[in-house]
């Protein structure tokens, strides 16, 4: 994918650019709001990564608002050193699609970017999701793997649905907490891991190959190659 990064901190920008290119993505970089807005408005990007605080007259939120006013639907991930809930809400209300607080792990950024871009492309209305021989019906809440029905609880179903919607991508624990449980605080304990391992017990035990993978230091991935 082609990504525009607007970030004034040289080292962070370099780190993100390098990481994204190593993952095989094309990255353009602007270090101020004016250039960033110009590039965003004229170039074709799959996603934008904007720092919220930028030098000059236009900050990250200004870019988001300008772009949304012109009807652009490019997914936007806002980076910010402001972590208060209200700041987050302001960022999302301005038209951002996701909000990541600095400092962040590169894996987190990458996972969120890929999720955003995928969301932009995929068909919006799906009633059946299929990964390998695992198939879930969103209407009847039925889960079948290899012809065998699997009983899932409500929350397990929601977790599996989220993983299947992002099949082949890495999803982080924070993404799961925010999207499946809608919580916005840091649990001190490994609650998410326990949920995932329960789900794994149900969908992977007794089947080959294993579908739910742990990605070291980042999170989980359903399907895709090991």
């Amino acid at each position: 994918m082609k990504v525009l990064l607007v970030e004034d901190n040289e080292r962070v920008a370099q780190f993100v650019c390098k990481g994204l290119s190593e993952e095989g993505h094309a990255v353009d970089h602007a270090d101020n709001g004016r250039d960033g807005l110009y590039l965003a408005a004229t170039g074709q990007y799959d996603a934008l990564v904007l720092d919220r605080m930028l030098p000059g007259s236009i900050d990250g939120l200004g870019i988001v608002e300008s772009l949304r006013r012109t009807g652009s639907k490019t997914p936007i991930l806002i980076l910010s050193a402001l972590a208060e809930v209200d700041d987050r809400i302001r960022g999302l209300r301005a038209g951002g699609d996701d909000y990541l607080t600095k400092p962040f792990a590169f894996g987190e950024l990458l996972a969120r970017l890929e999720a955003l871009v995928r969301r932009g492309h995929g068909p919006t209305i799906q009633t059946v999701l299929i990964v390998g021989d695992l198939r879930i019906d969103l209407l009847s809440h039925k889960v079948v793997r290899g012809g065998r029905p699997i009983q899932l609880q409500r929350r397990e179903f929601k977790l599996l649905e989220y993983l299947m919607r992002h099949a082949g991508q890495v999803v982080t624990r924070t993404m799961l907490l925010e999207n499946v449980w809608e919580h916005h605080f840091d649990p001190q304990t490994n609650v998410i891991d326990v949920h995932v391992s329960r789900l794994r017990q149900k969908i992977d035990a007794g089947f080959e190959p294993a579908l739910l993978h742990t990605v070291r230091g980042v999170g989980y991935r359903l399907g895709g190659d090991a």
Binding site: E22, V85, P103, F104, F185, Q188, T189
Partner: protein, 477 residues
């Protein structure tokens, strides 16, 4: 009654009434002295003058001269308003317009007020009896019937006037009280809204420059000052957040870059340097966690989040937290009991409440040994308070430690060897305070009962709350 007396406005009204009545009484007294008493003094002066004149006549010209004077004087008062009687030793009349000495007037020097039969009527008379030389007795009197009637008329009207004054005073006092109360109530309402986090609100002022207006203006000045200070603190913490997060982000980026480079070159997991760097990154993340928790605490403590309060179904929140932690708790071999009635709702911030309950359950999960029990319950205490109770059978908190566990960075003795930075309970307590309640820690024998008490209904948020903050209730951020 005592409670009523404690009210400043009631005391003010009573004071006002008392002062009003006192000044009315003073006015009435002066009036009385100037009218009724004046009449009485006049009469007495005339009687004294008459008596003196007749006495002088007796001294100078003997009884005959006196009798003559008396005859003249009596002749001047044909209607019998003036009474004269000069009597000898045996009280036989020697002159005057009265035939006999009145039976009810003693023959003794002095002033007397007696009724006197005058043919068909009885009139009230003022008499002066005096002993004259040569053993004579003189009685000089004046009809004071009319004067007495006027006097009682004056007394009656003064009485009515005083009563009316008292009633007016009470009414006036009540009016004053109401006027004062209204102004105080206006100030009170505005101040309540401000306490609830709407710092942009100001007390209404009129252009009257009266004391209340001056008070309101002073308070408004104070509020502007507070707002500036809070804005300053906010800016500072934002700046600190930015200035600290940015180098941390740089540092983290640099370390992660090294890891990525190293892992690209060789198989992960067999380079001790990379493991060390992984550890350093974890340390940075922990530091960021502390940092976030501190910023969060100051955000909660500022009370600004109150303007985003809305109706929160406690069942939903506690059940969700329970669902999140349930598997973890079961996996640790701990019984998990959730007892939450469906219909309890409070006014609050759903995210903060979820975080507080989450922290309590998180703590319980960390400290409860295998085979123990953790329970989550919601109880309506009374009309205005609801409790969220999280109980465990862990080591509990020592009585000596109870007051310090909510202090920032405090970690109880039982926390040795268990992760955490010691801010969890501080956050819970701050959330409880924000919701008009408190966090209570009690002994579960063994274990801990943490009770998060919240006010069921805070006063409704002011209408002028900033829309941006009010909108922070959107469900999915």
């Amino acid at each position: 009654m005592l409670r009523l007396l404690r009210s400043t406005s009631v005391r003010l009204a009573l004071g006002f009434a008392t002062l009003f009545v006192a000044s009315s009484l003073l006015l009435v007294g002066v009036l009385w002295w100037g009218t009724a008493e004046y009449l009485a003094r006049e009469t007495d002066a005339v009687i004294s003058a008459d008596t003196q004149g007749i006495r002088d006549d007796v001294t100078l010209g003997g009884a005959a001269a006196a009798a003559e004077t008396i005859a003249i004087r009596a002749g001047q008062s044909p209607d019998g308003r003036a009474i004269y009687l000069m009597a000898g030793k045996d009280l036989h009349a020697m002159g005057g317009n009265l035939m006999t000495w009145p039976y009810n007037v003693p023959v003794k020097d002095g002033w007397y007020l007696r009724p006197l039969d005058r043919g068909d009527t009885t009139r009230l008379m003022r008499f002066r009896v005096s002993d004259l030389p040569e053993g004579l007795h003189l009685l000089v009197g004046r009809d004071v019937q009319d004067r007495t009637e006027i006097r009682s008329l004056i007394v009656a009207s003064l009485g009515w006037a005083a009563t009316a004054a008292f009633v007016i005073a009470i009414l006036g006092g009540l009016l004053v009280r109401r006027a004062v109360l209204r102004r105080v109530e206006i100030i009170n309402r505005a101040a309540t809204a401000i306490v609830q986090g709407d710092l942009s609100r100001r007390l209404p002022t009129r252009d009257t420059s009266d004391e209340f207006d001056q008070l309101a203006q002073t308070i408004n000045l104070m509020l502007r000052q507070i707002e500036r200070l809070i804005e300053g603190v906010r800016n500072t913490s934002n700046a600190v957040a930015h200035d600290l997060r940015t180098p941390l982000a740089e540092l983290r980026a640099r370390l992660e870059g090294i890891i990525r480079n190293e892992e690209r070159r060789e198989q992960p997991g067999n380079n001790p340097v990379v493991d060390e760097i992984h550890q350093a990154v974890a340390d940075i993340d922990r530091l960021i966690g502390v940092f976030n928790a501190l910023l969060r605490l100051s955000e909660i403590d500022s009370g600004m989040r109150r303007s985003g309060f809305r109706a929160v179904a406690l069942a939903e929140i506690t059940t969700e937290v329970a669902e999140l932690y349930g598997p973890l708790i079961e996996e640790r071999g701990i019984d998990f009991v959730v007892d939450v009635p469906e219909d309890l709702a409070v006014s609050g911030d759903p995210f903060l409440l979820a975080e507080a309950v989450g922290n309590l359950v998180d703590n319980a999960a960390k400290y409860t040994p295998k085979g123990g029990t953790i329970s989550v319950a919601v109880r309506l205490v009374d009309e205005s308070h609801t409790d969220i109770i999280v109980a465990d059978t862990g080591p509990g908190i020592d009585a000596s430690e109870k007051s310090s566990v909510t202090a920032r960075f405090y970690r109880g003795r039982a926390a040795d060897g268990i992760g955490g930075v010691g801010l969890g309970l501080s956050v819970v307590e701050a959330v409880a305070r924000l919701h008009g309640g408190a966090l209570e820690l009690a002994d579960n024998a063994p274990g801990l009962v943490a009770t998060l008490r919240i006010a069921t209904k805070l006063p409704p948020a002011p209408a002028g709350a900033s829309p941006e903050l009010a909108a922070s209730g959107i469900a999915a951020i």
